[in-house]
């Protein structure tokens, strides 16, 4: 599995120019819009989806080669799912670091802890949806679509007023997001496995 994870990260690194471009766009938006919550919600899933689709872009053309090598399909599918989690983790770390820098530089206000949890749990759910879809459906959408979508949503997203200030409700919603996110991950993992096992060339 270690070899496969290494391979997946290598494939992503080959699309690194796109990731850099995307990071710059999102960070610029954060500093212009000064909205840390929306930034946290969309940075992680967008980066995860882009990275997952980068893996799938390479894999979809090379399954015949990949499965002719000493690679077990079960292991390959599981590694894709693990890579998805890994991407969420790395992107969460990058987004938090960016957020902290933005706070320290006085560009954005510090978020209440409950909203930080809500933002991260929502981004987990969206990451599983976006990343899972990219890995199972073989994402063919051009990557700039993510950037356009992000800019549109970033500019229009508002938290409903009845949620703000109600920490219990916020934590409850966060738990629901995490639970749905986990379910989406399990479904995505099963789908990746089914697709890999059924694939014929």
């Amino acid at each position: 599995m270690k070899k496969l994870v290494k391979r997946n990260l290598f494939l992503i690194s080959k699309n690194f120019y796109l990731c850099i471009f995307y990071i710059l766009t999102i960070v610029t938006m954060l500093f212009l819009k000064e909205d840390a919550f929306t930034f946290l919600v969309f940075f992680i899933p967008a980066m995860t989806s882009i990275s997952a689709s980068a893996i799938e872009k390479f894999d979809s053309k090379n399954y015949k080669i990949t499965f002719s090598m000493p690679v077990i399909r079960n292991e390959f599918a599981n590694t894709k799912a693990v890579t998805l989690l890994l991407l969420v983790g790395v992107n969460a770390a990058v987004s938090l670091i960016t957020y902290i820098i933005a706070v320290l530089s006085g560009k954005v206000e510090i978020l209440p802890f409950s909203l930080l949890v809500l933002g991260l749990s929502f981004s987990y759910l969206l990451s599983m949806l976006g990343g899972g879809l990219a890995l199972t459906a073989g994402d063919k959408r051009p990557n700039y679509i993510y950037i356009i979508l992000f800019i549109i949503i970033f500019d229009n997203m508002n938290i409903p007023s009845f949620v703000l200030g109600n920490d219990i409700l916020i934590y409850l919603i966060s738990v629901i997001f995490l639970a749905i996110g986990r379910t989406v991950y399990v479904i995505a993992k099963e789908n990746i496995l089914r697709i890999c096992l059924e694939m014929e060339f």
């Binding site: 391979r7 015949k64 080669i65 002719s68 000493p70």
Partner: protein, 286 residues
């Protein structure tokens, strides 16, 4: 002789095509030419060996191990070259090798460099920029750089010029020299097979026609020719297949001595080459 590849009653059903109970063995140290017309089922057999498609029934053992149960162990010792080997098109040859090398226990970078030098391939060149022949050479460099004991090649020489094909044949002969490695070489270019194969396995319309030592094939089969006036039921019975035209007939037989004895100088007996045997067996112009 140690058997490296053992295929027993292998079947695969597709809508409109059936690979039907194919069985053959390949021993250590030999090259098997795997021949048949286009659409005969050669690629299907190779895909089944590589577990790229699911078999309907049958058994495949490689190095004595089931190819599905011990997939990783088995594939670690197999080198493969496919007709459509594109690898990661946007990657350089070196990046491709980096992705692939990790998966093989016995990968040798020095062997890989040697093959690239020998083929005059630039490791920084992208795979998509390679010609068809260069892609095959690169695939061969990959296949030969991890100490594979079995090389499986699916139509590697189709579409290549004779010089390229000659070079590949030479490399394969070198590869087999130590007696511990084997090659399954699928092609419909019979001249490549005649140069190097020890065994010939011929399939047609999904059925195994024969799997035999090349020398035995050449010694066993004969082409009998004569005028239409002497073509009778006896000749028809002794021939596997007969072709007729307005000048006479020709047929492939296993009993040329019997026919020679009976018809004497009225018939001519010729030694067929593998291509002729294939054409008669495939039923072309029968």
């Amino acid at each position: 002789m140690e058997t490296i590849l053992e295929i027993k009653n292998l079947s695969k059903n597709y809508p409109g095509f059936k690979l039907d109970n194919v069985s053959f063995n390949l021993s250590k140290g030999y090259i098997m030419g795997f021949i048949g017309p286009n659409g005969a089922g050669k690629t299907t057999v190779i895909k089944l060996i590589m577990n790229l498609i699911k078999k309907s029934s049958g058994e495949i053992k490689i190095f004595g191990m089931d190819n599905m149960k011990y997939e990783k162990e088995v594939k670690n010792k197999i080198g493969f070259v496919y007709d459509d080997c594109n690898f990661y098109e946007n990657f350089s040859l070196m990046d491709n090798a980096k992705v692939i090398a990790d998966f093989y226990e016995d990968w040798s970078w020095s062997d890989f460099d040697n093959y690239l030098n020998r083929f005059k391939l630039d490791k920084d060149q992208k795979t998509k920029e390679l010609s068809k022949g260069m892609k095959i050479q690169f695939a061969l460099a990959i296949a030969l750089s991890h100490n594979a004991e079995l090389l499986i090649m699916d139509e590697p020489t189709s579409g290549l010029d004779p010089i390229f094909r000659h070079e590949i044949v030479n490399i394969l002969q070198e590869y087999i020299e130590d007696g511990n490695r084997s090659i399954l070489f699928s092609t419909h270019i019979i001249s490549d097979i005649e140069k190097m194969a020890d065994y010939i396995t011929f399939i047609n319309e999904g059925k195994l026609i024969f799997s035999e030592e090349k020398n035995i094939l050449e010694d066993t089969y004969r082409i009998v020719k004569g005028g239409l006036d002497i073509l009778d039921s006896n000749i028809e019975q002794e021939c596997i297949r007969i072709k007729k035209n307005k000048y006479g007939f020709s047929g492939l037989t296993l009993n040329h001595e019997k026919l020679q004895e009976k018809y004497g100088l009225n018939i001519m007996i010729d030694k067929p080459d593998i291509e002729e045997i294939m054409i008669y067996m495939a039923g072309e112009d029968s």
